[in-house]
Symmetry: C2
Subunit: 445 residues, 2 copies
Amino acid sequence: MPGGLLTDLYELNMAASYLRRDMDGLATFSLYVRGLPPQRGFLVAAGLESCLDFLASFSFTDDELATLEGMGFDDHALTDLAALRFDGEVWAMPEGTIVYSEEPLLEVTAPVAVAQIIETYLLNQITLHTTLASKAARYVLAADGHDLVDFAFRRTHGTEAAMAIARASAMVGFVATSNVEAARRFDLTAAGTMAHAFIEAFPSEREAFEAFAMDHPDRATFLVDTYDTEQGVRTAIATIEALGLRERIGVRLDSGDLDSLARVARTLLDAAGLPQARVFASGGLDEHEVAALIGGGAPIDAFGIGTQMGVSADAPFVDSVYKLTEFDGRPTLKLSSGKASLPGRKQVWRTIGDGEHRDTLGLRDEAGPPETRPVLEPVMRDGRPLAPPPSIRDALRTFQGELARVPAAARRLEHPEQVEVARSTALLELTAETRAAALAKAEIG
Amino acid sequence: MPGGLLTDLYELNMAASYLRRDMDGLATFSLYVRGLPPQRGFLVAAGLESCLDFLASFSFTDDELATLEGMGFDDHALTDLAALRFDGEVWAMPEGTIVYSEEPLLEVTAPVAVAQIIETYLLNQITLHTTLASKAARYVLAADGHDLVDFAFRRTHGTEAAMAIARASAMVGFVATSNVEAARRFDLTAAGTMAHAFIEAFPSEREAFEAFAMDHPDRATFLVDTYDTEQGVRTAIATIEALGLRERIGVRLDSGDLDSLARVARTLLDAAGLPQARVFASGGLDEHEVAALIGGGAPIDAFGIGTQMGVSADAPFVDSVYKLTEFDGRPTLKLSSGKASLPGRKQVWRTIGDGEHRDTLGLRDEAGPPETRPVLEPVMRDGRPLAPPPSIRDALRTFQGELARVPAAARRLEHPEQVEVARSTALLELTAETRAAALAKAEIG
């Protein structure tokens, strides 16, 4: 994995200044989301694994240093950057953890130069994965236990994002993905049958169905809407009967009024003595449409979910930031209008038990309120991971354990309410003191 | 570059069936956008270069074939897939070309199996790059000649998307990017100065500014809003004067009321005899805000544009599709409700001259209306590119030549109107004939 140039130029400018001036004080940066999108009552933390991989191998290749020379970095800076590694500490929420506004997903403590350079990559990856996992979680809520399959590859923002949504959706409970490379990489179940083009390439729909089922008897879900959906279902039934298929059979609806077509399909399949045949629906569905179909009783067994999830269409980003909260033993903050930050190394204290989450944002070194547990854990020290990364299955367990505890008003799909996160007395006191010091700094200019 | 597994499972299912049955007829697939997002009056074609790179090296590695064996593909299928290469023909719009609804950005003609497998990757890449280039173009319209810099890296959907927006924004006229790796890869100008953390890491804003300017006298743009913006501008001026800086100086505003703060900054800078100092603005700006600032006369010289562009926040995808339009010498289409397609190998005939575009969607082999030119060009034959890829500069020239000819109603930022694309008589006739044949196919089931 490359490293050093996956950043914004200003990070390198700042790092060069710090290094030249021997400013090697430890900096703590806190990565959090500054106000959730209005369509989100909670987020699902994700992206940590790629951050830790990046940090563990962070360095500049000779080619990268030559590039920087061409951009005006002098010998002093290049020598300093060449020696740079990430040797710091990371605390983070495990992937799959529920996160609310202002709660750190990750905190880095390292010498300020390297802690600064990694900002861009960490923000990029946490934002990507968290945005997508949070969107996928909404489909899980909508589907109410029905199977969900990731179909997003073709319209995600690149192949990296396609891998991310396959992983993120598995992490919240999707049962399969259409993305073959993602299935290989993350050991997921690959799913898929046929497209309209296949039907069109044969002289008739019937011949296409038969050919497909003969070649792939274990995945005989027939796409029935190429010409006429009801006729397509009848053709699928005829094919199933002709070939004597009994298991792993079904029909896929990809257009039109899915509710009524699903009922038609179900009725025809049942009348043919095929209650085990599944009805699969796809076609640009957002989570509200899935919820409406399920809520309305449409007999759909599984959904293929694509673009709307793959780009998190209703909220394609979160307002993630990476803010300096401590430098060289001093707490820090910025006062910028509407974008002020809170000082100090933090911890999220979450209530234990089965009730709805009540969180307190506090300091890492305080005791925490009674009946709470710390949500952020140390995951890297001296630049080395403290444990192998949790599996996607581990993350799914984390997510499932927490989802039920998200306050109902924050969990609903329409107009979710933001969860109020309390601030500990220790944090409030530190903020007041640090603010006063910053105002004094501003006055001395 | 890997290849074969960057696809959806169903593509491989279909390909395996085609290959097993020796169905090696040539298929033509047309990649186009089925109705623009309501916020878009036009799109900017992009992503072709990565598609051609992918096609030129398309194959399956032994590891990839082993993965497919694990997913249930039998020896026959694996042998067939192992031998597969892309040896077809591609016609496409050059990157930077303006494109309207239903106009093919790209058409592939190749044996059906390989033409099918590549669908997912081609759609993914054309969708990514075209979505981002089209969004970036709106900032160019909004900025009305003022400098624009890409600041999007930290919140794009992954690093691949970050490279894509750096490239796409350069293609429509952005002058620089903050993304160091993209600057290296695409030979762009890298830009950037400092973040708030840098100011906070020093005992005072003044000391931070002086340190930075001493270390980087060629990029002395001071971020002035960490504590108090007006005071920050005064501190920047004092630093500029103390160090005797004359060129490449400026201030950056990143929060608050940018219009009034820019006026304050401009007044202070001018009063200090620094008319050459530039005022730079950033902070989550969408294109409407840029247009309002410029339209209102805010004295802002340049804008840093981040998240809103980097995820195309108001329209994060386009409804791109890849449809079979001809197979084995026969035109094809699908009739699916609301998603019908048009048959045949196509061409976009665009009026020549300086007037607004009037396009006709027709067939590749027809003569085209008078006073028009064909927009799609052959770019690959027998799986080999016909020419080296155009440079980003070439694409920018293409874009600039065409932007002025986008109908004014389609070019406006608010409620743009869709451009009506005519259909040629030959296309209409072919559609009617093919539709009749498809209906007949549907009836025979």
